[in-house]
């Protein structure tokens, strides 16, 4: 029996991706977007990157982290500090932040030996401990006053394309991982970590790797976020609420799917912007309800919903393609 190898990136997918990126890149100029829309999209791109990055460890490997704000904060503040103290160009600062966040994540190695709920609760612990430590490390983070960054209007405008680039890269990498042998190994670890070891997969190595990458990506998002707002403070960057948002975006979009969190991030940003305007006091509760409903009825979130609809459509068309009697 011959088995044709599926390409990691099919020509069709590649085409769709390239077109989408080109369209988005041209958007601000072609449509003369308002400042508001321009910024909203920028923020969406940053969040897309963060959500997809979280999904690598939370979805592909199935180790749900409630503490990713720690990496987000480290990335943001390291980038901010580099900007303030060394006046490096923004992209270098962001990369520095990403590197720092990745190393921080590597420090989480002992946690990764834990399974399921133990790991998740440990991440809550680390997240909260980080918040406390960094809040009081005033020389680094500015304490409760936070850091103000020198961001000129040009950079803020160009942030759109930097963020788009980041989101596109992370999306491409997500897609590639899922379809590659690395993705298979991660899924195997998720299914049965001991059986994975029994077929030669070092869970420690791969979990460390993917956690560090996840941390680096989220740290990168943190750096761009810092530039976006030009002001960051520890209680927001390292806060539990921040960690929650990563989980939410991934779950809404479809935790474990290759691109679901992308959808989730977009929905999240839109809903949050709308909610903050109309019902600022309800958003936590609504997110809670959303989580409950999704877990109970459509665990794969929006992606699951979309697949279901596609299934209905196919079945509705089926009679026309039935076998001749």
């Amino acid at each position: 029996m011959t088995v044709r190898p599926p390409r990691i990136v099919t020509p069709a997918a590649g085409l769709v991706f390239a077109t989408a990126c080109a369209a988005l890149a041209a958007l601000p100029i072609a449509l003369e977007l308002s400042g508001y829309a321009h910024n909203l999209l920028t923020l969406s791109f940053i969040m897309i990157a963060g959500a997809l990055g979280w999904n690598w460890i939370g979805g592909f490997v199935g180790q749900v982290s409630f503490g990713h704000a720690a990496m987000f904060g480290v990335g943001g503040f390291v980038a901010g500090r580099l900007m303030l103290s060394m006046q490096l160009p923004a992209p270098l600062c962001w990369l520095g932040g990403a590197l720092a966040a990745g190393c921080f994540a590597l420090g989480g190695h002992p946690m990764l030996r834990l399974r399921g709920p133990y790991f998740s609760i440990a991440t809550i612990g680390v997240g909260e401990a980080s918040r406390l430590v960094f809040t009081y490390w005033e020389r680094f983070t500015g304490g409760s006053s936070g850091l103000s960054l020198p961001i000129d209007a040009d950079l803020k405008y160009q942030l759109y394309w930097w963020a788009l680039g980041l989101a596109a890269s992370v999306a491409a990498v997500s897609y590639a991982i899922r379809r590659s042998s690395l993705g298979l190994k991660l899924l195997a670890i998720k299914a049965d970590v001991d059986a994975a070891a029994d077929v030669g997969i070092s869970a420690t190595y791969y979990q460390d790797l993917i956690f560090a990458l996840s941390g680096a990506v989220v740290g990168l998002a943190g750096g761009l976020y810092a530039s976006y707002f030009s002001f960051i403070e520890p209680s927001d960057m390292f806060g539990f609420d921040r960690s929650i948002t990563f989980v939410l975006m991934a779950v809404i979009g479809g935790v474990g799917t290759s691109l679901g969190p992308l959808l989730g991030a977009v929905v999240f940003v839109l809903v949050r912007t709308y909610l903050l305007a109309s019902y600022p006091d309800l958003y936590l509760g609504l997110y809670g309800l959303l989580l409950i409903l999704i877990i109970l009825f459509e665990p794969l979130g929006l992606t699951g919903l979309a697949l279901r609809v596609l299934g209905w459509v196919r079945r509705a068309r089926a009679p026309a393609r039935g076998p001749a009697p």
């Binding site: 088995v3 042998s181 298979l184 190994k185 001991d194 994975a196 070891a197 029994d198 070092s202």
Partner: protein, 245 residues
């Protein structure tokens, strides 16, 4: 002829219980070694120790004369020792083919070779039709075939079969027996198998080792072992009757 795989005074204690006590084992190339014994004799413990899922309390394990005693499971696989599980553990979220692919990749990085090996093994165990199916949709026999194929996909020199034949119907059992023989003959992989299904063990094994309460109480050809009074008394006579029929 030096042994391919050897254990020396292999011991494993769990608190006060001694699950395996000073077991010596020698497996030669292209040999099928059967390990039998009553329940609780230590067979699965022995497998776990050799395959690296458990660390021994004392003793050594040698592959080709090199110590592999404390290698963790995934390193044992890279060294060439792989096991199957008594209760099959397929990766439920991967298709049959992906199950083989993931094991195949662990051995060789080259995607092309991994794919070829996986496809070839799929045919070897007769699961070609089910490549794109998920393990959940297979029968128990199918899942056992998958388990075997997946283990072989890692390109081992020694495969430990933990009650592979148990629980399938007699027709399947015969097919499995033939398959195991082919593993040794066609693929040159040495096999250690543990079974309760006596006819399978006795007809397949070149040599048999008997464990009882963690100790090796007999070793030899199947016929020698069956005639050994110690073995008979360990099994309270039932196994011996089974084999003679």
């Amino acid at each position: 002829m030096t042994a391919l795989l050897e254990t020396r005074r292999l011991t494993r204690r769990f608190g006060g219980l001694c699950a395996l006590d000073g077991v010596d084992l020698a497996l030669r190339e292209r040999e099928i070694l059967g390990v039998i014994g009553p329940n609780g004799a230590g067979k699965t413990t022995l497998f776990s120790l050799i395959a690296g899922s458990l660390a021994p309390s004392s003793g050594d394990i040698l592959l080709d004369g090199r110590p592999v005693t404390r290698l963790p499971a995934h390193r044992c696989v890279r060294a060439g020792i792989v096991r199957t599980h008594q209760i099959v553990r397929p990766f439920g979220n991967l298709t049959v083919f992906e199950n083989l692919m993931v094991a195949s990749h662990a051995r060789s990085g080259a995607a092309g070779h991994a794919r070829e090996r996986a496809a070839e093994l799929l045919d070897f165990v007769g699961l070609g039709e089910r490549a794109a199916h998920y393990p959940g949709s297979l029968t128990l026999a199918g899942r056992k075939r998958l388990e075997l194929a997946r283990a072989l996909a890692t390109g081992p020199r020694v495969v430990l079969l933990d009650e592979v034949v148990a629980g399938v119907n007699p027709t399947e059992a015969i097919a499995f027996t033939a398959l195991i023989r082919r593993v040794r003959d066609e693929r040159g992989v040495a096999v250690i198998m543990t079974e309760h299904v006596m006819p399978a063990v006795m007809s397949l094994s070149d040599r048999v080792m008997v464990l009882d309460h963690g100790k090796r109480i007999a070793e030899g050809t199947p016929q020698q072992v069956v005639d050994d009074p110690l073995v008979v008394s360990a099994y309270l006579g039932t196994a011996a009757t089974e084999v003679r029929t």
